[in-house]
Amino acid sequence: MVRRRGWLALGLALLLAATLLSLAIGRVWLDPRVLLASAFAPEPSLAWLILSEVRAPRTVLALVSGATLGLAGAALQGLLRNPLAEPGLLGVSAGASLGAVLAIYFGFSTAFALATPVCGIAGAFVAAAITLTVGRGGTLTMILAGAAVSGVMGAGLSLALNLAPSPYAAYEITTWLLGSVADRDWQAILLAAPFIAVGWLCLLLTARDLDVLTLGEAQAESLGADLARTRLLALAGTAMAVGAATAVTGAIGFIGLLAPHLVRPFVGHQPSRVLLPAALFGAILLVLCDVASRFIPTALELKLGVLTSLAGTPFFFWLVLRLRRTSP
């Protein structure tokens, strides 16, 4: 117990450090003392404008979507008892991106602001539903179904952006495929926040049943777990939270896979205990990746997905190698 508290404290300290780093570092260097002073004197000055309208929304968005991806990844891995389950690999992120792209580029969101998160959620829901229905029956089928859904959603995304009336749409394809939290405003975040909160709640409500599910589906049902309800909660929670977050950020890969695996050695393999720490580490990872994307000097800012993939792929390899060692 004491050991777990220690890890939790370390996690929170890391989160705080990452957040402060994200607020302090940007393309424009501002003296931290000036930033700090401006934070307590909210009047229009360069430091205050940058802090409150550029860096703060960006940091909050990275925290929230990182936590969402970590939480959803942990819940899906628990539900499917599959170490590779993750919103990105199951096609949910791509589906959400497609929904958001349809809403933004074809003018629904200018007519009706809520259209972006709602379409993102719808896209995520459709993608998750297809993958979970088609892919039931084992790790391999699930991954194959996820790859198929990801492929078709990605193709739909490219098609939608190519057909979009705006000539800039094709340039912005990288944002939707690789994800970015740069230059978003508070309004977009506040619009998505209620959906994300409800999604989190749904995912957290699955905790108890996820634990029972480790014994197998039949055993879980005999112990009184309502599997249909658990599946629905996980599906709806993932669609709501990941859908709404992805509608703002675009598809961000690997965080949902990485975070649960990273925390498992420290908190144990009980799925319910992984949920919150995975959310915490998802947030830390994404904020740190975003800080790095600003820190690395390139002519055009790096996209988030570039860094999460660079960090995530070696881990993926490690996972594959470990699976090869442990599986017969």
Binding site: L46, E53, I104, Y105, S166, Y171, E172, D185, E301
Partner: protein, 296 residues
């Protein structure tokens, strides 16, 4: 030894003729000569020459213009392209239109140029304008190519009168502006946009940036650079995209209230005689920018 029969001789002769005809065909388009008189079926594969063409020649002599021209034409000279065929710069359209003059951009692919040689029409490469001197040169060049040098001279003269007038009335106050659309690219030194800004009585912030030509910078850098006004290429397409969402970021709206101007993008990217009017419009818009430093 058997003598060759009549059919063999006929075959040999016709083969020879075929080779001769083929070599003739292959040689003919190698050096395309501009047909005498004014070209009657002009094919434009370049947005900027589309617009010039519509001003210089009657519609009957235009074979087709690019599909990109529709919206700029609707802004600059409404209705001028009515009934003019459009092309997408493809080989099929070149064959369809059988042009006697092709106006292409410097970026036209070599394949397109080879095809043009096959249909036997001369290809003229039209540069893009980076200054008013370029506009003068290009307008006269296109005028000469299409056989309307007098019209071209008149357009250039009109532009020069406007520019001279603007030079006389140049305001004493010079303010710093930037053409910024969500960090994609800010036109810097050596671009037409830069000269338009200078002639309107403003200095271009992007010339201070390290990268020459076009450079990109984000929201934070824009705020830190503190330009007196932000110019935004008025999206002639006016369709929603992420780029627009960033240009409309609340911090930009708040921090640069009353200092956000729009400009007609085609007059800045395509050098046209009307670009002089763009200078005048920009100067009028700049006069309305509140004087003094930014309030924050």
């Amino acid at each position: 030894m058997k003598r060759p029969g009549v059919p063999a001789i006929v075959a040999a002769i016709s083969a020879g003729l075929l080779v001769f005809a083929w070599s003739g065909l292959a040689q003919a388009p190698r050096a395309p000569q501009p047909p005498p008189g004014k070209p009657q079926r002009i094919f434009s594969a370049n947005l900027c020459s589309d617009l010039l063409l519509l001003m210089l020649v009657p519609k009957e002599r235009i074979a087709s213009i690019t599909h990109l021209a529709r919206e700029p034409v609707a802004v600059l000279m409404p209705g001028a392209d009515e009934g003019v065929r459009i092309n997408h710069g493809t080989a099929e359209e070149l064959i369809r239109d059988r042009p006697d003059l092709i106006l292409a951009s410097a970026w036209s692919t070599p394949v397109m140029r080879r095809l043009a040689a096959k249909v036997g029409a001369p290809v003229a490469e039209i540069d893009s304008a980076n200054s008013f001197a370029d506009i003068r040169r290009i307008t006269r060049q296109v005028g000469a190519l299409v056989g309307e040098p007098a019209r071209a001279d008149a357009l250039v003269a009109h532009m020069d009168r406007t520019l001279a007038e603007l030079e006389r009335t140049r305001p004493s106050r010079s303010i710093e502006v930037v053409a910024w659309s969500s960090g994609t690219a800010a036109p810097g030194a050596g671009t037409l946009t830069d000269e338009i800004m200078r002639r309107a009585g403003a200095s271009n912030l992007a010339t201070r940036l390290p990268a020459a030509g076009y450079s990109s910078f984000g929201l934070e850098e824009l705020l830190a650079a503190r330009p007196a006004a932000i110019l935004r290429g008025e999206d002639r397409f006016g369709r929603p995209s992420l780029r627009d969402a960033a240009s409309e970021h609340p911090v930009i709206r708040e921090a640069f209230r009353g200092r956000r101007l729009t400009y007609p993008e085609s007059l800045y990217t395509c050098g046209l005689p009307q670009s002089a009017d763009a200078v005048r419009d920009l100067r009028a818009a700049l006069a309305k920018v509140p004087p003094g430093d930014l309030p924050w």
